[in-house]
């Protein structure tokens, strides 16, 4: 049922999508110290893609994100699981957080951040899975 939107929506979606995605990454990265985090960021990103879907339709959305939303879910879970392992390497208990400093830009990288990226991907993937599946059945229903 969802068809391509109006001119205003199309233009707005095209310009808003990168901004929203950027904002979601911003929320993700600052989440440890300021309001934000993987869950919220994932929802923002999903909203961005939903807007794009309303404006350009399912095929355009698929062509843009290329990976299947279900793969995003899988990758997210994998990221979250992998973030538990470096602790073992250090001889510490499973899931103990590890912190490193990236030299030149002086950025704090950590396993909680990797874990949060996993959460982000799972949330984004799950919502997109639901939205695309709904759109898909909708279209088949119309046909």
């Amino acid at each position: 049922m969802v068809r391509s939107g109006t001119l205003i929506l199309n233009v707005a979606a095209r310009f808003l999508l990168p901004l929203q995605l950027l904002f979601s990454v911003f929320l993700l990265l600052r989440g440890h110290d300021e309001p934000g985090g993987g869950f919220i960021a994932g929802l923002v990103a999903a909203g961005a893609f939903a807007l794009y879907l309303f404006a350009f339709g399912l095929r355009a959305l698929r062509a843009m994100i290329r990976v299947s939303p279900r793969d995003l879910v899988g990758f997210g879970l994998l990221f979250a699981l992998l973030s538990t392992l470096p602790a073992w390497w250090q001889g510490e208990p499973f899931f103990t957080s590890q912190w490193w400093t990236v030299p030149i830009i002086d950025y704090k990288a950590s396993t909680p951040l990797i874990f949060d990226i996993g959460v982000y991907l799972v949330v984004l993937g799950s919502v997109l899975t639901a939205i695309t599946a709904l759109t898909e059945t909708d279209r088949e229903h119309d046909a």
Binding site: H32, G36, I40, R70, P112, V122, V123, G125, E140
Partner: protein, 778 residues
């Protein structure tokens, strides 16, 4: 560290398909180097372990819960680890040839390597939780291996049966292990072994023993759970040789042996183990001679061996423990070899029917020699290791304190029937007149012959110089709590009762072999009776389970969202209400200061909720629910919880998006529920609301409890390196919970997808009618 070796074994398993693309047919042989290296490392530990100094390898896992990945290498685990890695190396080598050209060979390598690592973890782990995790991993990999030929219906059925039986036992085992840890106040097997006296007097002793036994008996195919093992022969032969004779089915036995110092020695233990063991032993040997399929013959004789081991653990004297270790080793060696020979026969002749083979010694003399040596060990003839094992077994049965006459009778019958089985397997295909077979048989490739040849040679060598095992057996027996044994294994014990029993068994066994065809025809009369065995019970149970599932689906999972909601809420009200009013005297704090703006937010919420119930149009109702959601977000803001507020707002937005997508697909918004139903819904909703309100008031009154949030606030920056406490809790302090939640989220997404796709595939028909589960439960 050994732990990392085992964990990297799993990585190797995952890498197998990529290795295969690169190395082709040599992959299996090259991967066999990994367990081979492990064998060398384990052999290097031999002198230390035999000197009575078990190797401790510590590794933390979840120390807060007492869960570790500590590995303990003592006599018993060294013996098991050597068997697992050693036979594993040969099985990999063998499978590379056996399945050469099979399109699914890479998948096979993945699963069997994963199994090998799980099994190693199982026998090396000292922690009950770690042991249990590895235990379940072996069940799952076994399932995948039995069902390897997944296009074959019987194979899938057998795989599912094996899985259900062992996993049901695993569930009981988990309960048993938890009780064990409670009673022994430790999760460490080594600790528990030293607390036998307090464990045996603990009130939980009987339930925990029964639960643990259920787990061990299902895993190790003890009567009446033995039926899954012969069916598991649907797996490719290397799997049967490895999992279903030499290693996995011995996991239950291993666990019992480990727990012997902690739980063993009581009347209950001795009677159950000796009786079940002896019955299993006899059932296995008796069932074996009814079959003409060489793999089934061997499978039932494995059941017989597993029964023997359980019985010896039950008898539990020092002599019985020596017999246990010797028999265990002997059985793994000869049975591994015989299964691989059976695979060779199948591979070379194209049949598994022993009556269809004959005279093969002329075309495959090497295989015939190997088969003969291994079968001699199975039959318990000197000078093989099997002979020593059997003599020791008879000796300890004669010394048994309980049920001596009964188990001696069963043991003797099992022994002579086993001799017949050995003769059938080793003589029938290789001697007599040559038969026309599907393929023209000749010697198998070296890679397939290497494994059985080495195992058979070991059976012979260790039989000739049993003294080389004294140290290992002695140290193992000492660790099993049967005193400071100085063990001397010997081939010749003089003329004594066991030897006479063996001789009588040999004569009877030979007679059974000579008249096997007639015996089998006679036994065929028993077939209707056999069809009513334990397996029929399993089938009836499964059918009942399916009926129960159908019934509860009709009643509970009826597809009406409001019923799900009502059931969930009522259960919550009942459970929480019970805990609240009957188990704790609840106190309420009703003196609450309310500011005006807070009251306004609450008023908006209430107005939204009431409006949503009264609206006549869908959009209006949704908008009213939206008002409620935004008021909740507002409340979060007022109480300075920005993260929650943002999340709430985003969820509200998402709801709108989802609504837009489904708006035109929903039926007309009619007043679907009758007044009576509305009243019922009102009562449910009010009850739930009331309970949550009371809960909140009680929480406010419960100042005596320490506040967990203070800890979070204090430690978020120093330990979690973050200022956003909510996020630190989510991704660091309580990350395990979050991990669980995202798995749930992922499952929900898969569920939504499956439901919608399923519905779409059905076209516009309603999704209420579902296809019945097919017979194999897929």
């Amino acid at each position: 560290m050994m732990q990392l070796v085992v964990l990297s074994g799993f990585v190797l398993a995952a890498a197998a398909p990529f290795l295969f693309r690169w190395l082709g047919d040599r992959t299996a042989a090259i991967m066999a180097l990994f367990p081979a290296a492990l064998v060398l490392w384990l052999l290097a530990q031999w002198p230390t372990v035999v000197a009575g100094e078990p190797l401790w390898l510590e590794m933390a896992w979840v120390p807060g819960l007492g869960i570790s990945l500590d590995f303990l290498i003592d006599g018993l685990s060294l013996l098991f680890a050597l068997l697992i890695a050693g036979i594993g190396a040969f099985v990999l080598l063998y499978a590379g040839e056996y399945l050469r050209g099979h399109p699914d060979l890479p998948r096979f390598l993945v699963i069997i390597t994963a199994f090998m690592m799980s099994m190693l973890g199982l026998v090396l782990a000292d922690n009950l939780v770690a042991l249990f995790v590895f235990w379940e991993l072996t069940s799952i990999t076994s399932y995948l291996l039995i069902g390897f030929n997944h296009t074959d219906l019987p194979a899938r059925k057998a795989a599912l049966q094996g899985l259900l039986v062992t996993v049901a036992g695993g569930l009981a085992l988990m309960a048993g292990l938890v009780m064990l840890a409670i009673a022994g106040e430790s999760w460490s097997l080594a600790e528990l072994a030293t607390r036998g006296d307090s464990l045996r007097e603990h009130p939980l002793y009987t339930p925990m023993l029964l639960c643990v036994l259920l787990g061990a008996f299902t895993k190790s195919a003890q009567f009446p759970f033995h039926f899954w093992l012969p069916n598991a022969m649907a797996a490719p032969t290397p799997v049967s040789a490895y999992l279903h004779s030499a290693t996995m089915v011995k996991a239950g036995i291993y666990l019992l042996a480990r727990l012997q110092p902690g739980l063993g020695g009581t009347e209950l233990w001795i009677v159950i183990l000796s009786l079940v063991g002896a019955l299993t032993m006899f059932t296995g040997a008796f069932q074996a001679i009814r079959h003409i399929n060489v793999k089934k013959l061997l499978a039932y004789s494995t059941v017989m061996a597993l029964g023997t081991l359980t019985m010896l653990l039950g008898i539990g004297t020092e002599g019985a423990m020596v017999a246990f270790v010797t028999f265990l080793l002997a059985h793994s060696l000869y049975k591994g070899a015989l299964f691989m020979v059976a695979g060779i026969l199948d591979h070379e002749t194209g049949t598994k029917d022993v009556t269809a083979m004959g005279g093969l010694r002329r075309v495959m003399p090497l295989t015939a020699t190997v088969a003969l040596i291994a079968a001699f060990s199975l039959a318990g003839l000197p000078p093989l290791l099997g002979f020593i094992g059997k003599e020791l077994m008879f000796e300890s049965v004669l010394d048994a304190s309980h049920l001596t006459a009964l188990i001696l009778l069963l043991a003797f019958m099992a022994a002579f029937l086993t001799i017949a089985v050995a003769a059938i397997v080793a003589l029938r295909p290789f001697f007599g007149e040559p038969h026309q077979t599907l393929r023209v048989a000749h010697e198998p490739p070296l890679a397939m012959l290497a494994g059985p040849a080495v195992l058979a040679a070991l059976s012979l060598l260790l039989g000739l110089v049993p003294g080389s095992l004294d140290g290992l057996v002695g140290v193992t027996v000492a660790r099993l709590g049967a005193g400071e044994a100085s063990v001397h294994l010997a081939l010749w014990h003089g003329i004594n009762v066991p030897l006479l029993l063996s001789l009588a068994g040999l004569v009877l066994g030979w007679l059974v072999y000579r008249r096997w065809d007639r015996v089998r025809a006679r036994l065929a009369y028993l077939d209707p009776l056999m069809a009513r065995g334990p397996e029929a019970g399993y089938d009836a149970l499964m059918a009942a389970l399916v009926r129960l599932a159908e019934w509860q689906t009709r009643v509970l999972q009826n597809g009406y969202l409001r019923n799900y909601l009502a059931v969930t809420l009522l259960v919550l009200v009942a459970l929480v209400g019970h805990a609240f009013f009957f188990r704790h005297a609840a106190r309420f704090d009703v003196s609450i200061d309310v500011y005006l703006h807070e009251a306004v937010a609450v008023g908006l919420m209430i107005a939204g909720a009431v409006a949503a119930c009264l609206m006549k149009s869908r959009l209006a109702a949704v908008a009213a629910v939206g008002v409620m959601g935004f008021s909740i977000a507002l409340t979060f803001v007022l109480f300075s919880a920005p993260d929650l507020a943002i999340t709430q707002l985003l969820v509200e937005t998402l709801t709108v998006i989802l609504l837009v997508l489904v708006l035109f697909r929903l039926p007309r918004f009619a007043n679907l529920s009758a007044p009576g139903e509305r009243l019922r819904d009102l009562i449910v909703a009010s009850a739930f609301g009331l309970m949550v309100t009371l809960l909140m008031l009680a929480v406010l009154a419960g100042e005596r409890l320490p506040r967990i949030s203070d800890y979070m606030v204090d430690n978020s920056q120093p330990q979690g390196h973050g200022h956003n406490i909510v996020n630190v809790i989510l991704v660091d302090f309580r990350a395990l919970d979050t991990l669980g939640e995202i798995f749930v989220l992922a499952l929900a997404a898969v569920g939504v997808y499956a439901m919608l796709r399923f519905h779409a595939a059905e076209g516009s028909r309603p999704a209420t009618k579902r296809p019945r589960a097919s017979d194999d439960g897929e």
